[in-house]
Structure formats: structure tokens, C-alpha cells
Symmetry: C2
Subunit: 300 residues, 2 copies
């Protein structure tokens, strides 16, 4: 990114002021509210966006500067005792595009203020602890954007579908998750929970592509096909997680994801809209600026 | 990045074949060999590159696709028991552009395969251990690109300049570092050590800019000016680190950094040239591809 001159700075501010009066449209359009039904949301739809793929890619590219500035402000704020952070949780069926979100959306953030945690099947050590133990350890530091590639929701998704723990145990987890997320939010972390919603047909096409292309074979696991056989049970488990855990402090956003360009644009917009609402400010200097200018000028 | 079609893939390969015959020019031009003198390298020069800023930014943008593919291959290789990784170490005086390298060079890598560690003054806990203890813990996992923002070299830079430990202790560290880096390299990690080399005048201008701009005040610390007074001692300490630790397995690369665009291009090229030399390959499928295609086709 080119160094900003004084004039550019001013332009950025003008642009921001204009955007502030725009409704937070992706946030409103994608939030899973009371009575939300996964089956009624078309995975090829593009809520809050009218354009096609080319327009979507242009729109995405246009968000970079504002996102960069807001992220840097959030980070700067934490250096002056700010305690706020953002946690982006990405869930979705196999091939729903989680990796692409990491590469193309999270990849656009300044890596110095990002912590990605990828949650695989729990290790032997992790299994000895309550399911939220490993999650707590991965929460973002102040000023950072934490990103979860899968999350504690696996503990009510794959665990529920395969009864990896007794029903009596996983059924209690929804309330535990809500209490946990409330606590995290109250400590200063803005939680953005995203489900990438693909259709069964699209998953089949994407799995077939992984089998066609030798450079995609490493991403394929025969277990992916076994899991696909459980598609309806997974949809039901997602619906339950959304019903029970789309709360005021941590709502679910369901992003139609059959069109990868749309999902990337939508997740970026969701993060951007939440950062705008946080409105982080550059910290004031805690030193005498004029005195330091003089000291610097006096050195060779 | 758009999904690659079969045709695009082929094009990438053709381009790579062409580049393979080009000499690894930045690696050769920037390596600090026998008798290298920091004082003779102009911080405004642009070794191995003829163009101006605009050409440099274009050249940098043109490296993205090949870098992305090589990084993904390295990552994929590790999923099939590959043990190789890359460690990029970034050192330089205050304001030399380390943060910009993180944002613009490391930010171009896929964040899923990158681990940045920023080494600040050691904590009380870290001070109880040998200086390499915290470094070992931050070494990259197989398949990853680890990035150190400052490193164990601080233990022979700031520590030497201020005699934070007795001379008898820091003077032994050069040999300890060489032994450590040899061990790391033998375990499969390609080490790329970069010093961002700025001039004293350029540092003065950059510190002045931080004092001029309210959005840069948070990056400024009055201690930065105290440190600037030790400029000659730091240059001497860097020269000693280069003299003693530019080894066959882990040479130093000194990157002129008064021009930020050049430093970013040069560090990207250094990583790219090292990845090309590693030449990671897509792992072969460890399952029966045709059998899996049939299973997939049979599912709804």
C-alpha cells in the first residue's frame, strides 16, 4: 500500500463519513433471527448485493483500504490499554470454502494483528478437559482479530451427528456455549459467527473436482464421502445450533456460499461493518510531541 | 484469486519453467559473503533490480501467483509426512520497515501456513532460560513459513550495545547461534536471515514523520530517540553478527531499505527463490482415486 499523504488521509475520512449513513446491510441481511430456517435460504443467492461476480470482486477489492485502517486503529488502541478485539468464527460443511475465506478474506488483513486457530479433532490432552478449554486458550488478545477455522460448534455438530458423547452431554452444551460467548463479549470481544451455507449439489461438484485434479488430491480424504452420507443430520445439527445459539451478543450469520466470490465479499463486509461500529480511535500521544521533535532535531 | 482452470494451470507451469533458468539473482546479489562491509552498501541502492518504484511495485504484484502455488505445495507436502519448512528472520534498526514487511510481504502469503512471532524484550519467565529457549518454541511447523520480527540476534545486538549481560556471555553467543541454526537447517528448515539496512538520515526522517502525524504517534516511543544516539554501536554490532554468523547453511542477506518498495520486492524475491529451490511437489494420492469417484457418484 502506498504511503498516505495528508491529502489522502482527508479523503479517507470523507469516504468514511459517507459510509457511516449507509445501513449496515450485510449484517442485517445475513443475521439469523427468530424463526430462521436454513432450508429456505438459497445457497446461490447474494443477499445485500445486486451485482455479478465481476462487480463482486471489484467491490471486495475496494474495501481493502478502509479495512486496513480500521484494523490498524483497533491494534493501536490496544497499545494504549484498549481491551477490545474481534473473533471471527467460520463454520461450514466440507468444501464450503473455509480455506478460501482464510486465504482471501483473512489474508487481506494485516497478519501482525491476526491469529488463526484451526480446530481439528481434539487431541488426547484436549479430551481430558471440558470442551471449551482449548477454545479459551485461543481467544484473541486485545487489538487482534482472532479467526477460528471450525470452533466449539464442532462439539454440537460432528459430536451430535455421530453421538461422540452421550446426548445428555451434548444437549447441555448449547447453554454452556451461550454463557461462554456472553462472558467473552462482555470482556470486550466482538463475536462474528459465520456459517458458510452450500448446497448438497455444490458439495458433490467440489468433491468431484478434488478427485479430478492431482493438485487437489491432498485435500481429499475418503472420510469426506462417508461424512457426506450424513448430510441431512448435519443440516439438522446446524439448524439446532443456529436456533439455540443465535443470541443478542453473538448472533449467527448464514452466508450463502455456492458462489465463492459472494461468500468472500459477504464475510469481508461483515467484519468491516462490525469494525465500523467499534469505531476505534488513534490513541493520543502519552509524551510531549514538541519536546521530542526538538530532541530528535538536536541529534546528528 | 480466481479458481484456476486446467488451462491456467498449464500456463503457470510454462511460466515456472522459464523462470527456472533465470539465475537466483536476489539471493546472489544480497548475500553477505566473506569480507562484506555494511558501510560500503548504499541503503538507497537496488541490487538485482534496474527499474524504478512503479516497475518495482509491478514486479512485486507479478510474483503473487507463483509464490501462492509454491507455498501451497510446501504446505501440501507436509500433509504427506514432509518435514520441510522456511524460517524468515527480519532484523533492522527502528523504522527500518519491519512492520511494512510483515504487512506487505508476509501479508501476501496464505495466512494458514504462516506463523509470525514478534520478539520483544524478554519476559521475566524468558529471562530464566537460555536465550535460545523462546526461539526454539517459535520454530515453524513442517509445511509452514515461520517469520521472526526480531529474533535471537537481539541477544547480540541491543544486548551487546547496552551490555545487558557481561561481554564474556554475549561474545559466546555467536558460536551458539551458529550451532543452533545448523541444527535447525539440518532438521529441514530453510533459514533466510534479512537485515533491513537503512541510513541514519532516513531513520531521522521516519522518526520525524512519526512525530508529525497523529496517526503515527502510537508507534513512537521517546526511547527510540535514546536508541538513535547509539547508532554507530548498533552498526558495529550488526557488522559483527554478519561477520560471525553469515554461514553456509544460514547466510545473512543485507537488503538496502531506504526505498521501501525495493525492500519489499527484495524480501519477496528472496523467499520465492528459496521456495523454487525447495521445489515442493504435490503429494501423490494415498487412496484409490477411481474407486472414490465411483463412491461419490453413487451418493445422492
Amino acid at each position: 500500500m502506498a504511503k498516505k499523504t495528508g491529502k489522502d488521509k482527508k479523503d479517507t475520512k470523507v469516504k468514511k463519513a459517507k459510509k457511516a449513513v449507509t445501513p449496515a446491510s450485510f449484517t442485517e441481511a445475513l443475521r439469523a433471527g427468530e424463526g430462521f430456517e436454513l432450508t429456505t435460504l438459497d445457497p446461490r443467492s447474494t443477499p445485500a448485493f445486486d451485482g455479478d461476480k465481476v462487480a463482486g470482486e471489484e467491490a471486495l477489492a475496494g474495501l481493502g483500504d478502509e479495512l486496513a485502517e480500521l484494523q490498524e486503529r483497533l491494534y493501536a488502541e490496544s497499545k494504549a490499554d484498549g481491551t477490545r478485539s474481534v473473533l471471527l468464527i467460520i463454520q461450514g460443511m466440507d468444501t464450503s470454502g473455509k480455506g478460501g475465506i482464510m486465504r482471501h478474506v483473512v489474508g487481506a488483513f494485516d497478519p501482525q494483528g491476526v491469529e488463526i486457530t484451526s480446530f481439528k479433532a481434539p487431541t488426547a490432552e484436549e479430551k481430558k478437559h471440558p470442551f471449551l478449554w482449548r477454545i479459551r486458550k485461543a481467544l484473541p488478545s486485545p487489538g487482534d482479530i482472532g479467526v477460528f477455522d471450525r470452533s466449539h460448534y464442532e462439539d454440537v455438530l460432528i459430536v451430535r451427528v455421530h453421538d461422540l458423547v452421550p446426548r445428555s452431554q451434548w444437549s447441555r452444551r448449547y447453554a454452556q456455549i451461550n454463557a461462554f460467548e456472553k462472558e467473552v463479549a462482555e470482556a470486550g470481544t466482538t463475536i462474528i459467527k459465520v456459517m458458510l451455507h452450500i448446497s448438497s449439489d455444490e458439495q458433490k461438484a467440489r468433491l468431484a473436482e478434488r478427485l479430478e485434479r492431482p493438485d487437489k488430491h491432498w485435500k481429499f480424504n475418503p472420510g469426506d464421502i462417508d461424512e457426506r452420507a450424513h448430510w441431512p443430520a448435519y443440516q439438522e445439527a446446524y439448524q439446532a445450533a443456529i436456533d439455540k445459539c443465535s443470541t443478542e451478543v453473538a448472533p449467527w450469520f448464514v452466508v450463502p456460499a455456492d458462489r465463492k466470490w459472494y461468500a468472500r465479499l459477504a464475510v469481508t463486509e461483515l467484519v468491516l461493518e462490525h469494525l465500523r461500529a467499534l469505531d476505534p480511535q488513534w490513541p493520543k500521544a502519552d509524551f510531549d510531541v514538541e519536546a521530542e521533535k526538538k530532541r530528535l532535531a538536536q541529534l546528528p
